[in-house]
Symmetry: C2
Subunit: 295 residues, 2 copies
């Protein structure tokens, strides 16, 4: 039942993503194909799910929130495309397929990332979106994403990540970096869902606590999978952290402690959901699945 609800939501998001993408145009065909390739590559759609679920349990209109759910997935996808570029992590594979620049070339991949980030804002600020949620909430939600994606959020975390390669960093620095690099967008998804539904302060606080906990747990599990995972299941090579001499939760805490920490954070996330009256089953299941995933 829960799975069916999740699947239906993911299908809805996928359909809308396709709808929001620019239509085929002979002049920009390459760009549009590159955008489609990465955006419609079967991602887990965790951020849209978070946004829509928090919107729903705060009494909001899930359909009106869809443009915003799609926008956060576009912003996430742009970051993956740029992260994979040769001048960044230089990853050839992503989600089991050649990464964007391996298929379309570095120039088009760069621009496809740029265009997806821009499309995220275009989608949130479109007349249709504003009609659905009102200008006040559209501005608030889009502003949360802008802040989370920028220099104090995701991009800031990526820079620190680049600087840290081959260096020993403290657990505190690693955690701060991850709060920005991956945590900021997950937190933004939860906050945007609340804001779009007109949630109250205590609901917003509970959503933030949930999102911070699963954001960190998500990153710890990523590090664990880079050691214990199977490259075929993951769709990307394992051992890359070790190869890049990266400090991870596994190298800094040890594998067992990292696993314990991830479970503790999951419990904290599920507890945070007690701040809502009902309807939190999907979110608690999502927290548990993120920590027990094998990809």
């Amino acid at each position: 039942m829960l799975n069916q609800q999740v699947n239906e939501t993911v299908e809805l998001v996928d359909r809308k993503l396709e709808e929001y993408l620019p239509q085929q145009d002979i002049m920009q065909a390459d760009l549009i194909n590159a955008m489609r390739y990465s955006l419609l590559s079967g991602g887990k759609r965790i951020r849209p799910l978070l946004l829509l679920e928090f919107c729903r349990i705060c009494g909001g209109d899930v359909h009106a929130a869809l443009p915003f759910a799609c926008a956060i997935e576009m912003a996430h996808t742009y970051s993956l495309i740029h992260d994979d570029l040769p001048c960044m992590d230089d990853d050839d594979m992503r989600r089991g397929r050649p990464s964007n620049h391996k298929v379309f070339g570095e120039d088009t991949a760069l621009l496809a990332g740029d265009a997806l980030l821009t499309l995220a804002f275009e989608t949130m600020l479109s007349e249709e979106s504003v009609r659905l949620v009102g200008a006040e909430r559209a501005v608030a939600a889009a502003g949360i994403l802008a802040h989370a994606a920028g220099a104090y959020g995701m991009v800031g975390g990526q820079v620190v990540d680049l600087m840290s390669e081959g260096r020993v960093i403290s657990l505190k620095t690693l955690q701060e970096m991850d709060e920005n690099k991956t945590g900021a967008l997950i937190l933004a998804a939860a906050k945007m869902g609340c804001v779009l539904a007109g949630a109250n302060e205590s609901q917003l606080k509970a959503a933030e606590n949930y999102a911070k906990a699963i954001g960190l747990a998500f990153q710890i599990v990523d590090d664990i999978l880079d050691v214990t995972g199977d490259s075929e299941t993951l769709g990307k090579p394992v051992g890359s952290d070790d190869e890049n001499s990266k400090c991870t939760y596994v190298t800094l805490m040890g594998l067992d402690n990292a696993k314990i920490k991830a479970l503790e954070l999951t419990d904290a996330a599920v507890r945070a959901l007690e701040g809502f009256e009902s309807g939190t089953e999907v979110l608690s299941q999502l927290a548990r699945e993120l920590v027990s995933r094998d990809k």
Copy 2:
């Protein structure tokens, strides 16, 4: 007098740009320095000027429009940083100084561009901006920029530009490409200024006609300067179009016809300003200066 007005506006924009940049932070120092380097490198601030002037002659509050003027300069700067990257035009010089990636490395330059685009939206959607102009106008102005910067605007034009290198294209294709690559942001500046001031339809139409004419004239003059200009004055090498076997207005129309076309467009721009009652002196001077510039 006019020059003084322009200089004061440019100084105001420069001061605000500095204010909106992220503050120094030891963790992201590299990123912030890279953002500052390109954003505060003494650009002509044509797009902010256009936005603020159209806002002013439509009776709007220029100070309230400043965040939006700064945002369009951030979006313009991001496009220059990404355009200069080795996988794109691979330009080593920009505005008389080494381009961003030559100073900060490709990875940081890429992220500085990403962060500037994101900061453009963060600035427009901030609580302060929304308080100054209201949510409705903030959304409308930010939406115009998002559309103009994306796949159907600036980024779309860049892709077509990349595809056209070394190929013979028609004058029509060249013009369509430029309408996107450089024209879209200039048009957006004019439209945003009008929208922020609550302009009427006929003012908006006149502003669009002016912006389309100077946008195209601007690009034609760029092509002329690549042939006739002085690399020291320009702050970048001349003859790069020829080196890259690019079709330009000069190669397609001849130098003399290109000059005539630029002057005709300037006249058309100045005529379009007749749609406004008064106060258009700065804008007509700007149109004339753009066509007679030597850099």
